[in-house]
């Protein structure tokens, strides 16, 4: 299976896919209920032990890097330019001022992205695609629809691989892929035309293969990988319910008296994303440099 799934032996892996789907829904809902940067940050940190429990820390950090790019962009640009801001917090060079209200807005946005991203990554990395499909079928989702979801997971890596081959094949026909921007846009045709054709051919073939194996047969189907909701799932679900109730309580009764979001918190989280972003850039530059001098290893 060629997907993001990481086969590991952990509590999170052994949860039923349905529980994990509910977990994702729960996280999305929570990220909107907790409309406050400080609480969202707490929530984000609280999710991390789950990542550790699932034993996917390293791949998680790699994939969350991309979301962090969004966070940096949103926090910086919104923090300075969003017109809702009135109270200045601090000024960087050139008279650009970060304002409190816009920083709150930007932090809520970017933490929400990170929180939802974390839950989604956790779900995808710990759930076997076939398990997800069979769990969906148990929820009375039509079999063909579950299969569409499943095959999407599988076809993306296939397309990525084909894209690489097509790219090489076109370069072998003297296509200059490192030209100007206009040239690069023009290059999309020789890239995508074969890619589309090949993908359609593959999908067409796949439909034949499926028919040959009685895919469209009416009636009940059994699944090779059975999923079952057990006591662990119920515990997890109860936990989620508890947290959700607490969140709603916080939202309804405590919001007036809670002032966790301070200037310092906002500033530090902004600097935090900058520093991590800086590390990413340094790592990227070092890698590029190593490539230039011809692979030091």
């Amino acid at each position: 299976m060629n997907s993001l799934y990481m086969p590991k032996d952990s509590l999170i892996h052994s949860l039923d896919p349905r529980t994990k789907m509910l977990f994702v829904v729960f996280v999305v809902a929570s990220s909107f209920i907790l409309n406050d940067p400080a609480l969202q940050l707490v929530f984000l940190v609280a999710l991390f032990p789950l990542v550790v429990m699932a034993k996917v820390v390293k791949p998680y950090l790699i994939s969350i890097q991309f979301l962090l790019l969004f966070a940096v962009l949103i926090m910086t640009v919104h923090g300075i330019y969003n017109p809702i801001g009135v109270t200045p917090v601090f000024e960087i060079f050139g008279g650009l001022t970060f304002k409190y209200e816009s920083m709150v807005y930007a932090s809520v946005m970017s933490f929400r992205i990170l929180v939802i991203g974390t839950a989604a990554v956790l779900f995808v990395m710990t759930t076997h695609p076939s398990d997800m499909a069979s769990a969906l079928v148990k929820w009375k989702v039509p079999h063909s629809f579950a299969f569409i979801l499943l095959s999407t997971f599988q076809i993306i890596p296939i397309i990525a691989r084909e894209a690489k081959i097509v790219m090489e094949a076109q370069q072998a026909r003297c296509l200059d892929v490192k030209g100007s921007l206009i040239q690069r846009v023009k290059n999309l045709v020789p890239m995508f035309a074969p890619l589309f054709i090949i993908t359609f051919m593959k999908v067409h073939q796949l439909s034949y293969v499926l028919e040959c194996r009685a895919f469209s047969r009416k009636g009940e189907k059994t699944s090779l990988r059975e999923t079952k909701i057990g006591s662990l799932d119920y515990t997890f679900l109860l936990g989620m319910l508890g947290v959700l109730a607490f969140e709603i309580y916080l939202k309804l009764f405590m919001m007036g008296s809670l002032h966790l979001t301070t200037d310092a918190l906002l500033t530090y989280s902004l600097f935090g994303t900058w520093i991590v972003f800086g590390f990413m850039i340094i790592k990227f530059v070092v890698k590029q440099f190593q490539g230039k001098i011809g692979g030091a290893n």
């Binding site: 084909e162 370069q171 072998a172 296509l175 490192k178 054709i197």
Partner: protein, 282 residues
Amino acid sequence: MEPYISVKNVSHKYPNGVTAIKDINLDIHEGEVVAILGSNGSGKTTLVKHFNGLLKPTKGEITVGTMNTKKERISKLSSQVGYVFQNPNHQTFLPSVRQELAYGCKNLKMVDEDIETRVQKAIDLFQLEDRLDDNPFDLNSSQRKEVAMASIMAVSPKVIVLDEPTTGQDHKGCKRVLELVRMFKREGHIVVLITHDMHLIGELNCRTVVMNQSEKIADDHASVVFSNKGIMEEAGLQPPQITQFANQITRFDETKTYLTVESIIEWMKANKEEDVKVGTGS
């Protein structure tokens, strides 16, 4: 004579840490036909992808003509080293054969008359006159493969790399590939073949490089390589059936390796075997 392609101590390690080729040395001279043999995953494709710069060596150096592949763009190297991919669908995408043939030359920004003469030459060599306006996707797979080869050939590179040219081809298609390789050689090109088709190599009777587990384990004439049992077994290869047959019949000349049916017939005729009927060889 200076080799045209010179591979010196080249290793390639993929970003995922797999070393696909280890310390390869290889010189290819003008006018040579070189077959690269080896089981799947032995590093054949990785090696030849270095010739036009699709991959850059992580250790060692490759020179093509006067160019160091590490320093040149793939598009420039490709004008000297034409690479025909295994699946023509990856390469062809234009609505007519004629446009397909001109595509490489256009990428090299040649003037129109120049393109015209080159395309015409490719048309003549591949006898494509009747199919010029056909859509490549309407052709059958061996014709499509031929169009892919012709479109590479139109640029007239010095070296032509064929990645498994006979895989999935019918007998006629295989024979055509054989003809084409001979034609490339006649036209003065260097041909590098990746193949599992022992019959093809036997017919070509060419230099053969054997790869096994990322390393080059043999580099010699096909007849020498095919008669070296140790190497063949190590690489998991079997010589053409006719060679296996000849090796088991003691009355043939044991110092010679027979690669084709014709060579056996010749031997029989020379030794006045009575049961040979000329013309029923293949």
